[in-house]
Point group: C4
Amino acid sequence: MLDDLKQQVYRANMTLHRSGLVLLTFGNVSGLDAEAQLVAIKPSGVSYEELQPEQMVVLDLDGVVVEGDLRPSSDTPTHLELYRQFPGIGGITHTHSTYATAWAQARRPLPCYGTTHADYFRGPVPLTNNLTTEALTGDYELETGKAIVAAFEDIDHHQVPGVLVVSHGPFTWGSSPAEAVENAIVLEQVALTATLTESLQPQARSISSQLLDKHFLRKHGKDAYYGQAR
Amino acid sequence: MLDDLKQQVYRANMTLHRSGLVLLTFGNVSGLDAEAQLVAIKPSGVSYEELQPEQMVVLDLDGVVVEGDLRPSSDTPTHLELYRQFPGIGGITHTHSTYATAWAQARRPLPCYGTTHADYFRGPVPLTNNLTTEALTGDYELETGKAIVAAFEDIDHHQVPGVLVVSHGPFTWGSSPAEAVENAIVLEQVALTATLTESLQPQARSISSQLLDKHFLRKHGKDAYYGQAR
Amino acid sequence: MLDDLKQQVYRANMTLHRSGLVLLTFGNVSGLDAEAQLVAIKPSGVSYEELQPEQMVVLDLDGVVVEGDLRPSSDTPTHLELYRQFPGIGGITHTHSTYATAWAQARRPLPCYGTTHADYFRGPVPLTNNLTTEALTGDYELETGKAIVAAFEDIDHHQVPGVLVVSHGPFTWGSSPAEAVENAIVLEQVALTATLTESLQPQARSISSQLLDKHFLRKHGKDAYYGQAR
Amino acid sequence: MLDDLKQQVYRANMTLHRSGLVLLTFGNVSGLDAEAQLVAIKPSGVSYEELQPEQMVVLDLDGVVVEGDLRPSSDTPTHLELYRQFPGIGGITHTHSTYATAWAQARRPLPCYGTTHADYFRGPVPLTNNLTTEALTGDYELETGKAIVAAFEDIDHHQVPGVLVVSHGPFTWGSSPAEAVENAIVLEQVALTATLTESLQPQARSISSQLLDKHFLRKHGKDAYYGQAR
């Protein structure tokens, strides 16, 4: 069942592992089969060295497991909320990658200081609000998903495919599991470079909206001219 | 004698070596056989490339070597004091890992700035006091152990499985040698992320006790729901 | 056609990939056949793992593709402007390498704080000016090349074989594609060391012109005595 | 001739290469045969990938090449001055390793902030004075050696086996080429940790002389008890 999706999700998890963004069993990638409205996700706490494609857990968008013997990632309710609320996404990645997590722990959105950022994210990467006591002691992972959705009230989730969950770490998404991982890799790199930029220039300023648009639109949308024609 | 423990301690030392936390021959891991009340530990100054399981030195809790031709790690008296005073631990790791050592050299306990820290340590990682002249010139490694125990007067060593020895470096522990190494790896990562957090936000604040408890208890204790049921 | 140049450019791109300076498909290297007045360059957005020598795209200096089925790097007009305006160069490298990019994002030229810098760059590595709105919305990549050339109005491009494009990242060049990559590797290293130097000494000062000349001329020009006689 | 020394010097150069302390062809290791009063050193500008034991250049202490077809390292006169003035050393290493070089570029001696430093260096690692114009334009590499010797007027070179050459980088030494490389590796690590210590605590203080002596003497001298008996 959904063998292709499970393979995609498995491979994306292994790419994440090899990228150096995750320690131990931290981190997870999921993917959506839009037609079947089913999600495949990494099982909780399984080491990447032992992970197998057939261990991916398949759930419906209400969180009912429809296939798999293992518990899904404990972050599953966050993933499901994003699939329900962000139309058009096909994959989600969560990491505790070092630099993106540092910005989340510093409780700061990530400013756009350069064109590498602009190539992938059309503006700052937002920070979620703190959860209320009720949310923290309630359905915590679902509430985390709701906090992410709230942070995108005025932002197009297709143009800014990632977020910093306050005091926690980043989530990224994309049209596929592989693209979600690519966005996680680039987010970590731009979080690193932004950290260094501020150390070299405490009054660092964001790039102009013109340069931001130029780079984002060079890679995205109908007039994109980066890469090969498809 | 104690072949299983010696294998466990050997493998944990090699995991530590591969983790990148130790340079040259720095660092050591030990394990306790609780029934036999015997400890196995890495020999002193032997390179990881040449280390063999049968070289692990076995001692009783008074430090009498009961098996092994090599000298045990020079830090052995510190390990033994922890096994005597911290009931329930089964493994100990000592490293000079870069970021945890930097906090120790800065003479600061490590604050809890995020959920990765909270997943493993339920509160700040404490710093030992300076040793007195008498302790320094006396039985130095035993006194280091006593200083660690003193730092846990008001802290549960099961909930905060690590410490920073002032001007020196970290010790971590766990239910087994492998868990002690895992805690050393995570301590280094959270020390790194905390360093970056302060560089991005000099007024960084610790996370709330509610978020701390939520994450620690997601992974530990009777209501834990991270990972697979065992 | 130009098989030797295509091999050189391919190998230089792969050296860049192995150097750790580029993430994903970022970065590109080109080379010039001075006699034929033709340039070979990496195709746009192709992963390094799949790159083949015969995929290098060959263009004339006006940007007309004379061989190759793939689109050339989107930065090609920048490369061509440099080949037209900087006589004697035979290779160009563009990266988003972390530390050089951080200086570009901090909008600061890179000062010469030590002899490693002086061994390769006889003075600070300049920063380009911001592009005007017209340049940004016009022929952007060509305008980037013109901004680089403008930054060298008073600098000898043979003695300072690199530049920081403001808010973007570095370009380096040399007598061959391989030398351009070597200069990119050294630029990243000296950008890293300069960042640390300022963190240790906020009032860091550039080295004396005498020490600068001594080191640059130890490696370059008729009295060079570093390396083997050729 | 001196095959054993050439092998030792070759292996030490390759250890240095694998340690990650050197980029490209930077860095060099030499060794002394005390009986023959001859030195073997890496040839200048040869890549580590192609280096062969028989390429090591053998010189007497006046710099006369007695064996070898290649030019010796351009830093050879610095090495020879140290062998002439520092009795008892058997190997020397020079690198541009990142953190040690950053301290040299910041023009600061390296303070002793912890026990890792104290295990290898009994006190701060000194910084040389700037060379005069005459020294810079004269026999530069010999003058660098003299500046190092001058920095040790009041320091025992056996107890502090390394130095930071101002605006340039570190030299370390030891009883053998291998020990000189080990000291270079540890110097880089303590330079890194000291950098982080200051970022966490701008008023960082050196460790007490008692703790310094305790750690240095645990590893060195007649009462050493680290490692295995020899």
